[in-house]
């Protein structure tokens, strides 16, 4: 418990908010598995279930960032495992573009993560959230959170 408190305190008790878009078949199921396995992870993430990572519109990512999300996680099936054959590859390209756009404009593409997490990788899901929270704490709060000139 002591360890967790320390983590929470630096820097400045900042708890990043993460919006996650997870594909129904793999990553969402993986997140469920983390649940059924009772693998604990930080509660910083708000999950939106989509059918496929390939249906994640970059606009969602941009919207989240502009609305002040400190991070956006897109979860899809592993290479070759996509329930919809190749949606995960599509997602990968789109996320790459969105990250590039954000990077170019000072919005820090590192806030956007795309990960392959399978239905059986509850542990990986939890670890991903943990890692992401840790990295976002280093990056610091999204400046857009307090901006209104949108």
């Amino acid at each position: 418990m002591a360890v967790e408190r320390e983590e929470g305190q630096s820097p400045g008790d900042f708890e990043p908010r993460i919006v996650a878009l997870l594909c129904n078949w793999c990553s969402y199921t993986g997140a469920d598995l983390a649940g059924t396995s009772r693998i604990q992870y930080p509660p910083n993430i708000r999950v939106i279930r989509v059918m496929c990572s390939g249906s994640v519109d970059p606009m969602y990512i941009l919207k989240a960032i502009l609305e002040g999300a400190d991070g956006v996680l897109i979860g899809g099936c592993h290479a070759g495992d996509c329930h919809y054959i190749n949606g995960n590859y599509k997602a990968r390209r789109r996320v790459a573009i969105a990250r590039r756009v954000l990077d170019q404009l000072g919005l820090d593409g590192r806030r956007v993560w795309f990960r392959f997490i399978s239905a059986s990788e509850g542990r990986l899901f939890a670890e991903t959230v943990r890692e992401m929270v840790a990295q976002l704490k280093e990056i610091g709060p999204n400046p857009m959170r307090d901006r209104w000139e949108l």
Partner: protein, 1479 residues
């Protein structure tokens, strides 16, 4: 109705016996395929054992989570009729048209009325061990089997009448009032007593308590002090007179009744009648009321004020009293009739003392028992003198003796003619008397009284001996000649009996017998009409409670007359006709002293008439009540009846017989667990910290008795070191089960893993023989248990378990593999108990005339799985042999296929179509969102503040209703949601509970039933994705749950209805692979009336099965294969394409177009079909280990088999090596069949070639389930089994023409070297060539090992995640031939369910195009992986082929301007969620 061959019509219904996962699967398959299903189970809910499981291996899925949707589906299916609590009694008729006679057990709760609200739980005072929790926890006598139970209704557990209640002459329900007292409801307890006993205080003191004699607690230690408890209740009530309120009486009678005699019988009768509104007058000869209670029982036993109080209460019911009115002296019966009394009850008692007929009986100083007591009790104390002799052994004698002491006698001695043992007085009174100084002299009879001056001075006695028992059952005293003696006395009290005053009775016109007793019938009718008699006057002297019983009986008879009934009636009388409950074997009583009421010190009490025995305090009484074992189950206190608002409870229900017509029967009653008490050496049942695996399972379960906390039963502390003992009751010829139970190794691994996750730092040791991780993905799981979780495996059977007294830790004694004896201490021991066929299932089978083997198994012939000895009766699941869930589910589908084939002509005959109310249009309505937040018991509510989430939801835009539900998926909640939709005109529904992946369809259907389009539903997961993963952070978990609800509501507000669309299903199937599985599946489909294209890439059918020459059980597969080939080729519905392969395929479930290429001319054939079955098999793995391919004497098992079949065995010293290439980092799985294969060949070698020797090097012998008997046979035939470690495998060297095999014997640690003529390798099974290509072609997933991956390991073993494609045979993973056959049939059944439908409903989440905005750029077309999109050449707009659309949404993203959208996942919905997530 279709006519069958014999002219009888076939019934399109199937009876499935056993509603576990097997029965449910059969039922669902058949119901979906168009048959009516009767699903029968002995239990009150479906679900079977799986409902009890915490997790399932190897995926660690929560068992209930994956089961629950099936439960709901089975429970809701229109074509499945559930028959809970029902057994199949008889089966008549013939296949195709059976008549089944069902017995429905009394449930005592009307399922249709019960809303499962649970209001009955609080009032129920009876807690019983909960067998669902392995008896670790308790449940009420009224209970629901488990929270998600279907049907979702309560039932009452009645085990028979509790012995105490049965023993009570007055039928007082001791069990009920003890139970109520225990739960602190004194008034209710008193009311229960007052139903049949208006003298609780009296009987609480002086009752002879026959109840206690029968109390089963007496078999444990000492009976429950029932009488003291009654007294405690009554005395408490006396102190709380405001509480004294009888239960409302159900009936009101009119009439006038005279009761003659105000003793316990008369007053009881008066009470019972007065309660019912009868006008009663009591006539009493004495100046006081109470009869013998007052004039017979001394005040030190029954204080007068106590008696007065109770009589006062009785009289307060409006009873008129005439004292000093004696029958015959002051009135006659005729006069009473003349006065208008319709009935007269005579209960004048037996107040006349029996004369002893002794010389000197008339002397002064000689008294008679009751006369003496009466005098004293009426205040006239006779002069006794110093030495008093009392003759007699009853309570009157003792009362007289003790009264004498109190009157000042210096010494009192009781003389009794028999011994102490025969003395009728109660033990406690004897003890009290002794303590007070009363002396006893046994085995002596008075012969004369001698007096001086007319006053007695001497008592002459003779000594007796006891002879054989007399009519009363007591040994008869016989005087010993010449043993006469005398004692000097000042007074003698003769207390040898009483009788009624018969003269007056006779004069009243009543028939009186020789003993002076009124002659009466069982209900009290006398010889004179309208006159009833009861109590001592009809029986002679008896106890208060017997008098009360008589009063009840007579009152009942009179009441019946007043009611106008004829004949004899009972009213709350003894439960003669009802069975006494058996000793409650499930109770493990905690030893506890019986409560002892305080007594006045003898020195004090003998000087006065104060009450000797004190009462128990309420706390003492409650504690004493806790000793009750609740033998009867339900105590019938009836508290539940008024508590149940829907009036669903009926304690008078009885079993009912029902007859139904069915075409086929499936037996799937499942298994039961081995009774671990039979293995006494492990101490189960004696040591609290030795538990069974099922108990441990429940302990791990979040819904279990301890909510998932692992604790030691003895002290509730978390264990540090757990030992699992494997094979308890399995692989055991001594009292256990001979077979391997097939599941224990894996469930132990699972329980070990989960336990380690629950308890940090826990050490787990598993004591086992072989670890049988033979199933798909099992080996990895087992490896994980060891490597990742650090579970320690010790290869040893534990010899004994002993408890260490202070710590209650357990000392395990075992010998290690190398023969050393060890002892090791653990603080919790889990016995991995084996499974055996359910005895109820076996009994049902036997009643049906279905053959079972000596183990009770419904063993089927090896290559004819599913068939029992009775045609038309099939078997699936563990009844036919131990097996895991996927095999069970597969079998269930397979036998469904057999039944469906048999009844093919009647398909659809009795099926009903679902009907939904017309869909309400919500067009133009503003959103009205209803939010339902689930507690999931404590699963969510334990972490997330559900009320806060509801409160939050109430504040969200457009939310017009929000509430929390205990289990949102329970039937009552479902009904409630529907109600709410109507009540609040909801047009969007949000459920915040668990994962939508399993539960969304249920809720969608719910709102559909409420008249809403199913797509107006949104679900959010606050369990798996909040409460379960943020347990330590409840506030933030609640916060997150609130956000998730906000997001769901934000989306829900924007949901639009999606109209249902249908598409046709091509009823033909494509089966790929012409081996055993493919042929079986094809035939199975053809038998159900479907056309099949069977594609085989070889030039002939048969596949791998052709190489198998005999099965492990000795069956002949070649015969089967030849027969199948013949049938396939001869079947007009099957079109066979040999030498063909699938080249390309397009389409979707129900509508495939597949191109085959093959034949000698490489022809291209296009076929259309609705389903695909993948049955492409596997192959023997290749190896280059152990000189294979480099030495002629090294062969594989298959090659050996061919040698054996052809009779050409090269040499007779055979060495086999198992796991060649299997269970290695390169090929981590177990090939499952090699052990059986090796054992099979080894046995054959030993049997054919007696001079041969066979040595098998193995890692674990995995002859799971019934295969164990072949392993045993091999050992009996002298096959030598030597285990090797993978680090030290045997070494093989060529030795000229021969081979030299070196190994190490782990038992001795010695190196072995042996010459071999033949080395046989088990290289295992590998995926077939072309598997990867096929998987790509049909877009099917593969496992890491390269076999096809089914949709779900446990519950969808032959389905793929994509609809329309099914899997069977070795393509799924290694398996035995019979398993392939079963799986092939299962796949055929699953396909038949689809093909038989005719049309399917399109997915609700299909994409659509907003044409106005579409620019026809085609990005959507390019992004669609299913060719479901085109650009219309005319309009240049994109178009969606809905049936092809799988709803991935790729097109939606591809479209830059939102012209392309997806129902249920539109851009604005997701954007709204994003916004809501970031409030």
């Amino acid at each position: 109705m279709p006519e069958s061959r014999n002219g009888m019509s076939t019934v399109g219904a199937v009876l499935v016996v056993g509603a576990g996962i097997s029965g449910m699967q059969s039922a669902l398959d058949l119901a979906e395929a168009g048959f009516r299903v009767h699903l029968v189970d002995e239990a009150w809910a479906i679900g079977g054992t799986m409902a009890q499981l915490d997790k399932t291996f190897p995926t660690n899925d929560c068992a209930m989570c994956i089961l629950s949707p099936k439960l709901v589906e089975a429970g809701r299916h229109l074509n499945i009729q559930l028959h809970p609590g029902t057994v199949l009694e008889r089966l008549e008729g013939e296949p195709g048209r059976f008549r089944a006679i069902l017995r429905r057990k009394a449930r005592y709760v009307d399922v249709d009325k019960c809303t499962a609200c649970g209001d009955c739980l609080a009032p129920c005072p009876v807690e019983l061990p909960n067998p669902f929790d392995g008896n670790l926890g308790v449940r009420k006598a009224i209970y629901k089997l488990y929270p998600q139970a279907i049907p979702n209704a309560f039932a009452i557990e009645k085990r028979g009448v509790s012995p105490c209640r049965k023993a009570c002459p007055a039928g007082v329900n001791a069990h009920a009032y003890v139970a109520l007292l225990r739960s602190g409801r004194i008034k209710e307890a008193w009311q229960v007593i007052m139903r049949t006993l208006p003298f609780p205080s009296v009987c609480g003191r002086v009752c002879t308590h026959p109840c206690e004699e029968e109390c089963f607690r007496g078999q444990v230690d000492r009976p429950v002090a029932i009488r003291d408890l009654k007294r405690a209740i009554a005395d408490w009530m006396a102190e709380h007179p405001d509480q004294m309120e009888l239960e409302p009486c159900q009936e009101r009678l009119k009439g006038r009744v005279a009761v003659v005699g105000a003793g316990p019988a008369g007053l009881t009768a008066a009470y019972q009648l007065a309660r019912r509104g009868v006008s009663v007058t009591v006539f009493e000869a004495l100046p006081v009321l109470g009869g013998m209670m007052r004039v017979g029982i001394p005040a030190f036993r029954l204080p007068r004020e106590v008696l007065d109080r109770e009589i006062r209460f009785i009289l307060s019911l409006g009873i008129e009293v005439r004292l000093n009115s004696a029958l015959g002296r002051d009135f006659t019966l005729d006069e009473l009739f003349e006065d208008g009394y319709q009935s007269i009850i005579v209960a004048t008692g037996a107040h006349v003392s029996q004369r002893a007929g002794l010389p000197g009986e008339e002397l002064e100083g000689v008294f008679h028992g009751v006369d003496f007591l009466r005098s004293v009790n009426l205040g006239r104390s006779p002069r006794l003198g110093g030495r008093v002799a009392v003759i007699g052994g009853g309570n009157t004698a003792l009362d007289a003796a003790r009264t004498a002491l109190r009157l000042g006698a210096e010494s009192v001695c009781v003389y009794y003619r028999r011994s102490r043992a025969e003395m009728p007085a109660s033990d406690e009174e004897v003890e009290q008397a002794r303590a007070e100084g009363v002396q006893f002299s046994f085995l002596c009879s008075p012969v004369a009284l001698v007096g001086r001056n007319g006053r007695v001075t001497q008592l002459r006695l003779v000594r007796n001996r006891l002879a054989e028992p007399d009519a009363s059952g007591r040994r008869r005293p016989v005087p010993v000649e010449g043993s006469e003696y005398h004692v000097d006395v000042d007074a003698v009290i003769l207390a040898i009996g009483q009788r009624p005053s018969s003269e007056a009775l006779r004069q009243a016109g009543l028939a009186v017998d020789g003993r002076g007793l009124v002659v009466s019938g069982p209900d009290g009718r006398t010889s004179r009409e309208g006159v009833y008699a009861g109590g001592d006057v009809t029986t002679g002297p008896a106890t208060v409670v017997e008098a009360v019983a008589a009063g009840n009986r007579v009152a009942a008879a009179v009441a019946a007359v007043l009611r106008g009934e004829v004949g004899e009636q009972g009213m709350g009388g003894p439960n003669e006709e009802r069975r006494v409950a058996p000793f409650p074997a499930d109770v493990v009583p905690v030893p506890r002293e019986r409560a002892r009421p305080r007594e006045l010190p003898p020195g004090v009490r003998r000087t006065n008439f104060d009450e000797v025995v004190g009462g128990l305090s309420l706390e003492e009484a409650v504690a004493e009540a806790e000793r009750c074992l609740n033998c009867g189950g339900c105590s019938e206190c009836l508290q539940c009846v008024p508590a149940c608002r829907p009036a669903a409870i009926d304690h008078h229900q009885e079993d009912q017989l029902e007859e139904i017509e069915v075409g086929a029967v499936i037996l799937s009653a499942g298994f039961e667990l081995f009774d671990a008490r039979l293995k006494g050496e492990y101490g189960f049942g004696r040591y609290p910290n030795v538990i069974t695996s099922m108990q441990f399972e429940r302990m791990l379960s979040a819904s279990g008795p301890w909510e998932g906390h692992v604790r030691r039963p003895s002290d509730g502390r978390p264990p540090r070191r757990i030992a699992f003992i494997q094979c308890v009751g399995s692989r055991d010829l001594r009292g256990g089960y001979r077979h391997c139970s097939g599941v224990c190794c894996m469930y132990t691994a699972k329980e070990a893993i989960i336990a380690k996750e629950h308890v940090p730092g826990l050490e787990v040791t598993v004591f086992c023989m072989d670890v049988r991780a033979y199933g798909k993905e099992f080996e990895r799981y087992y490896q994980r248990a060891q490597e990742e979780y650090g579970v320690r495996y010790v290869r040893s059977m534990v010899a004994s378990v002993k408890e260490i007294p202070d710590s209650r830790n357990l000392l395990l004694r075992y010998s290690t593999e190398d023969g050393q004896l060890r002892e090791e201490e653990f603080d919790l021991v889990v016995l991995a108990v084996g499974i055996r066929p359910s005895s109820a299932g076996v009994e049902t089978a036997r009643r049906l005339g279905v053959q079972t083997d000596e183990d009770g198994l419904l063993r089927t012939r090896e290559l004819e799985p599913g068939l029992t000895s009775r045609p038309g009766v099939f078997v699936a699941g563990a009844l036919a042999g131990p097996k895991d869930i996927p095999e069970t589910v597969t079998e269930a589908s397979a036998v469904a296929a057999l039944a469906a084939a048999q009844l093919a002509e009647a398909r659809g005959q009795l099926a009903r179509e679902p009907r939904y109310p017309p869909e309400r249009s919500v067009e133009g309505e503003p959103p009205r969102v209803g939010v339902f937040v689930c507690h999931c018991g404590i699963n969510i509510a334990g972490t997330v503040d559900v009320e806060a989430v509801v409160e939050h939801a109430r504040g969200l835009p457009d939310v017009v209703w929000a509430e929390d539900l205990l289990f949102t998926c329970s039937q009552d909640s479902i009904a409630l949601i529907k109600e709410r939709v109507g009540e609040h005109q909801l047009n969007r529904v949000v459920v915040a509970s668990c994962t939508p992946r399993t539960h969304e369809p249920l809720f969608q259907n719910t709102i559909r039933e409420a008249g809403l389009n199913p797509h107006l539903f949104e679900m959010t997961n606050i369990r798996e994705q909040s409460s379960w993963v943020h347990r330590e952070l409840p506030e933030r978990a609640t916060d997150k749950a609130c956000d998730l609800v906000s997001m769901a509501v934000a989306k829900a507000r924007l949901l639009r209805p999606v109209p249902a669309r249908h598409f046709e299903v091509d009823p033909r199937a494509l089966v790929i692979g012409g081996g055993l599985a493919g042929m079986t599946a094809s035939l199975c489909l053809a038998a159900q009336g479907f056309e099949v294209y069977l594609v085989e890439r070889e030039r002939e059918l048969g596949g791998m099965a052709r190489r198998v020459k005999y099965t492990v059980g000795g069956d002949d597969p070649s015969g089967l294969v030849d027969r199948l080939i013949g049938e396939v080729l001869g079947n007009p519905r099957i079109r066979v394409y040999l030498n063909h392969q699938v080249e390309e395929t397009a389409g979707y479930v129900g509508n495939y177009v597949t191109v085959l290429r093959g034949g000698d001319d490489s022809r291209r054939t296009e076929i259309r079909h609705g389903a695909v079955i993948i049955a492409t098999g596997a192959r023997e793995a290749t190896t280059d280990q152990y000189l294979y391919g480099r030495h002629p004497r090294v062969v594989t098992q298959l090659e050996l088999e061919e040698m054996l079949a052809s009779g050409k065995l090269a040499g007779c010293r055979v060495v086999m090596i198992q796991c060649v290439g299997s269970r290695t980092p390169q090929r981590p799985y177990c090939s499952r069949i090699c052990c059986a294969e090796a054992v099979k060949n080894a046995v054959r070698i030993r049997e054919r070639y007696p001079a041969s020797s066979v040595v098998i090097f193995y890692r674990d012998i995995r002859t799971y389930g019934l295969l164990e008997e072949h392993y045993r046979r091999a050992r009996e035939r002298g096959v030598l089994f030597i285990r090797y470690d993978p680090e030290q495998p045997p070494e093989v060297r060529p030795d000229g023409d021969q081979l030299l095999v070196c190994g190490r014997d782990p038992a001795t640690g010695w190196s072995l070297e042996m010459e071999a003529d033949l080395l046989v390798l088990s290289p295992g099974v590998e995926p077939q060539d072309g598997t990867i290509q096929l998987s790509r072609l049909f877009k099917l997933p593969l496992t890491e090992d390269g076999f096809f991956a089914e949709a779900h390991m446990k519950l969808r073993p032959v389905d793929f995640a994509a609809d329309g494609v099914y899997l069977c045979g070795l393509a799924h993973g290694p398996k035995l031939m019979q398993e392939s056959i079963t799986q092939a049939r299962a796949a055929a059944m699953r396909a038949a369910v689809l093909l038989g439908k005719g049309r399917l409903e399109a997915r609700g989440i299909v994409a659509y195009v907003r044409e106005r905005a579409c620019s026809g750029c085609g990005l959507c077309v390019k992004s669609c992986p299913y060719d479901a999109r085109q650009i219309d050449p005319e309009s240049k707009k994109a178009r969606v082929t809905e049936v092809l659309c799988q709803g991935c949404g790729a097109c939606v993203v591809a479209c830059p301007n939102g012209a392309s959208q997806q129902a249920g996942f539109s851009k604005e919905q997701i954007l709204a969620m994003v916004e809501a997530a970031l409030r």
